[in-house]
Symmetry: C2
Subunit: 513 residues, 2 copies
Amino acid sequence: MTNVGAHPEHRTRISPMPLRARPLGIHTLDEPVAFMRTDCHVCRSEGLSSRSRVLLRSGDRTVVATLYQVSSDLVAVDEVGLSEAAWSLLGVVHGNPITVHHPDPLTSFAHVRSRIFGNRLSPGQFREILDDVAARRYSSVETTAYLVSGSSFPLDEAETVALTRVMVDLGETLTWPNTPIVDKHCVGGLPGNRTTPIVVAIAAALGLTMPKTSSRAITSPAGTADAMETLAPVDLDLPAIRRVVEREGGCVVWGGAVGLSPADDLLIRVERVLDLDSEGQLVASVLSKKIAAGATHLVLDIPVGPTAKLRTAAAGEALAGRLAAVADQFGIATRVVITDGTQPVGRGIGPALEGRDVLAVLQQTPGFPEDLRARACALAGAVLELSGKASPGEGVVIAAQTVANGRAWAKFQAICEAQGGLRTPPTAPYQHSLTALSYGRVTSIDNRRIARVAKLAGAPGSKSAGVEMHVRLGDEVSSGQPLYTIHAETPGEIEYSLDYVAAKPDIVGVGGA
Amino acid sequence: MTNVGAHPEHRTRISPMPLRARPLGIHTLDEPVAFMRTDCHVCRSEGLSSRSRVLLRSGDRTVVATLYQVSSDLVAVDEVGLSEAAWSLLGVVHGNPITVHHPDPLTSFAHVRSRIFGNRLSPGQFREILDDVAARRYSSVETTAYLVSGSSFPLDEAETVALTRVMVDLGETLTWPNTPIVDKHCVGGLPGNRTTPIVVAIAAALGLTMPKTSSRAITSPAGTADAMETLAPVDLDLPAIRRVVEREGGCVVWGGAVGLSPADDLLIRVERVLDLDSEGQLVASVLSKKIAAGATHLVLDIPVGPTAKLRTAAAGEALAGRLAAVADQFGIATRVVITDGTQPVGRGIGPALEGRDVLAVLQQTPGFPEDLRARACALAGAVLELSGKASPGEGVVIAAQTVANGRAWAKFQAICEAQGGLRTPPTAPYQHSLTALSYGRVTSIDNRRIARVAKLAGAPGSKSAGVEMHVRLGDEVSSGQPLYTIHAETPGEIEYSLDYVAAKPDIVGVGGA
């Protein structure tokens, strides 16, 4: 039996006329969006409607975009308007011809649907899904479904290992001639926790190799890359990173410029919108970047506190266990340090303010934030012990000596010079202090809300903006004593953050005597 | 101990200047979108970024929208551009002042997160979630997370009952003086399955009350409301529905105009994008509308076939069982009819073509589609038996008599007149037949692909467009014999559907002799 079903005979295929590309200057984060007239011939002939997914083609480049139809003169009937993401991915100039079609069916989404209904995924299925995510063929709705499918019914260890492997394979990788290659990672959520530059300086000063790639803030007031950028350039490409690390033993650069895990960068944006981390995805996200960076020894900082990301020690230890088990499968030795997450770290919250804290610790400036120094030395000590540079129990002492004797500061200056030159963090032109209303003792500091104040003041977009803390838990304060100072680049941003403070009077809780 | 923490003193709150509303004519389905300049004072002072959720206020109306920032002259620096959905929900005119703020935190999303992590939801939690969905405070990403949270870890019966109740409470409800109130519902997925108008005509002709609200197509070539609209007006409000039903005993109207389950209408759009029905959500969706319409007796048509929505009898029966169990909790008697879903029903696929099939059956026109008549009579027979109008086993006979003796046709005409006047379905100006290439027997018809051909030809937007089937499974065909005819309102749409047919030669499978 052969299939001889109907097909159309004796006709010429009418190729759809291309539309002309038009930039609309619309920022959608990284989601490509196309705007076409409802009455354009392509919408009619292709049967397209608003929110259809469309395949845009210009030359040999293609992008899958979400379509919004337009019934105004925003675009002409023979034009396709493009969001900035679609525009840059297609690499077009105004007026370039673009053809628009239905995209191929998203076959990997069948795996997501299968997982939603309780089936585990094979390495091959993860690969198909992540390939499509990395190629931006998933809309935010489809990405959400994928992420939730791994939360409700958690990934097991085999799936987490498979996912980690796929995420490594999708990106660039760094290899180094010698081992150990040390790394550290903080499982987020604590304002001002800017230990990384100090840890790298200590480790490199003692001869270890620590090629550190860090992230920028997405929803927080500063990522390590944002803070480091106030001290030195961080947008280095792979050859530049290699040069810095070969010369100085360490670096602190922005990982997003390198593409160690391109799918992860896209997934993280949706996770942050949802404020939803599934353990499996989190483990794969963290470890894929460490594996890609060539790490052999990894210290994990897991702050635990009522307003930190992890609220109980049990939750922190469970996550630590999964991270260590999966890392082990990739030959990475790990050590977990559960740290105090009850209040912000150091004084500054915001890129430049955190940069200044780092400098104060390394330079041993009088009045430097002792808590930041202690945390950084604890983590550096763990790095030293894990990699065999220090005997058990001695790491923190050696780390502290390396700060005290100025070797860490000398190494940090050398790293900054190698990355393009040491910078002085900027100072905000507008500042406003919040004061205690009466005598009392500081009983609570809400990490999430103080971070929000810093963001409303302009951090991380405005480098000098943020919050400078003057008190820590347990401090006694008298009436009129400053609790914290808001820093901003405009008076409006000061006002706006003060509106928020007025609505949330318990950001810094002060108990009466 | 009292909380006497910091607050800002002695300052005047600076109220943000409103922006001017500007309509952009952008269609986003029902998702409100706002477009604001990156450099506008509100974006800066509120710390807004692209994809932020923003609260738009005009007078006493508010809408939560997704923000896209703009760096072009699409909008002025003191304007906020609005999608059509945002525009109509705010009820503004060009230039009206609109203030823009951060929206209140979406507290009900904590329940979604909780469910994602394996906790069941209480009736009160479902109410908070669905309240926010109905008020359009959920973005499509958040809606997706909610929907998937009920798929991966399926809703139990108590949750399904709670959800159904909440969805009923959110919408309008109809009450009727007498019982029984009969209804039918098809759990989708079969092109041309347009039995509803015939079943209503039979039931009403025999004195039953059947106030039928139907849906329009979202991803299919025609919904019952689309097909019925080619025969009579369907956009009736609640008083008009009441008048028609009091006079004629039945109606076939569009439920979307009535608002029986407003949250469901928003959820369904996302479900269709994902092609994902969770059983609990599906059951609540179907039953909430039946309960709101006042139904006491409900017949469920569940087509099963390899290219239907439900692919196995076991899947059909499992769904039927859950539907019946939940309906029972609301005092609704149900009967499930598992029907043949291996091929399209009747001849026509598309609004007018299906309308014509309905007329042919009711008028007993020579050559009427016998399969459609038989299905409609089987379902009407189940309605008659379930409601006590016929003894077990006699329903189908009485239904068939009611069609044969013209009483169903007379009742249908009366219903159409009561709804605003009987119409003649339009005929498409362009038609193209697909023919068999050689002698053989029809071995398969792909429901999903034939539906796609009808949509590419313009259905349901173009009322007369679609596909007219000439063969059924098992038919012998000779070379050159027409298998089906594409109907369209433009030559381009004929061409476009033919392109698809050329790429998918096995839409109608013909086995060689």
